[in-house]
Symmetry: none
Subunit: 125 residues, 4 copies
DNA sequence: GTGGTCTAGACCACC
DNA sequence: GTGGTCTAGACCACG
């Protein structure tokens, strides 16, 4: 369910958050679905329970899930909408990199092309 | 010549590396040009000499400059070509994020718009 | 585990790099083994943590180890192969010096003898 | 007459000493020959006069040349013999590297082979 | 506990 | 003046 890179520079708890969000965005996790418990998941991934706790707390803070003490942790009704907004925020990352590329003299066409290819079109605009 | 953000999460030495590469990419620093000395720059930016040393060492490792002990540090002949490759590699980052955005249902137009806006406006950083 | 010469002209951090490579080459350090932590080693050798950090960073750059932040630093799978190549490259140094000696009229027997003596005796350093 | 590498890690004055010794060892510079003056050579090589002064002083200290104030600097009668001894001292370098190679598991045959090839023989011993 | 970054200040060799 | 190395000590994020 999750794939952890222990040597990368992005913290494990962030990887958990990210991947959970991706699961919600892609519809694999839907409203009312139960998230794996900290204990189980910590064993499965050989990850410190505190790390998972931190990830889940953050997901809760963002309103993507809610814990029912003693029963587990469940995806909220708003989750899908919320991750949509969240992901849109990543356009900022695109902007940041694009700014660098512009400063480095990479033409806009190359950047647009990269995006278009990902979206499945050969050429556009 | 350099602009340091002391509160961001990216280390100062990386900012120096980045901006130096940008100066080379944009042709402001050319083959044979001397980089500002560690001491002088450290005063100018109020940054510790060691931090700059670290940045410069990394640039040297990447083949962008070379030090002549006692004389200073100079931009190499390959520098321009090397940073070109380096920056084009960042298109991969764009692709990676774009893939995530597509999966999250963000329409391609929004992504292209983000890029175009960056390339269209004057303001930087 | 390590032996530091504080009075020689070779920097401490290079000595660390060298000796670590030797430990890998001789199989004492194997894939997956954890390197002594910066803090612990710094105490053991009475060497500043930063100096060790520098050595380890370089080893990491060369692909001999990899750091899992918060967990430690581990020998990579490629390490053994890589140091093998590294060390064989030093035969070039031998060749360079031998060329000088030949030009200076030192007979080949003396050079071979020097090598044989080293390989023949037990004592080290 | 001299070839200077301004970017290498070996100091310029050492390069001068080295190359002068090589010229003596190979018989190009003989007893009584005049060395190029500091002024002339400094211009020719675009090297700081102080640097050359340092090199020449060291050569004098080793007894390879002697300065006749106002007349120039000349190779001594002992020079050839002395550089011979000096070069023989470089066997220590060979020993040092051989020691490293042994520790790294490189077989003695490879080292001997490297030496033999330089001395013009394919196989020996 | 781990690694990563930064500062302040020192010393050295070389030019 | 230049770069290179080292120490001491601090702070941070992560697990």
């Amino acid at each position: 369910m999750f794939q952890i890179d222990r040597f990368g520079r992005t913290p494990i708890y962030e990887q958990i958050i990210d991947q959970t969000q991706r699961l919600i965005a892609s519809g694999i996790l839907k409203e009312g679905d139960q998230l794996p418990s900290v204990r189980v998941l910590s064993q499965e991934l050989s990850v410190n329970p505190n790390t998972l706790q931190k990830a889940y707390s953050e997901l809760e803070r963002r309103g993507l899930c809610i814990s029912a003490p003693g029963n587990g942790r469940f995806v909220t009704a708003d989750a899908f909408r919320l991750v949509g907004e969240e992901f849109r925020g990543r356009l900022d990352e695109i902007r940041r990199i694009a700014k660098e590329l512009r400063a480095a003299g990479v033409p806009v066409e190359e950047v647009l092309e990269a995006v278009n290819v990902v979206y499945g079109k050969e050429k556009e605009e």
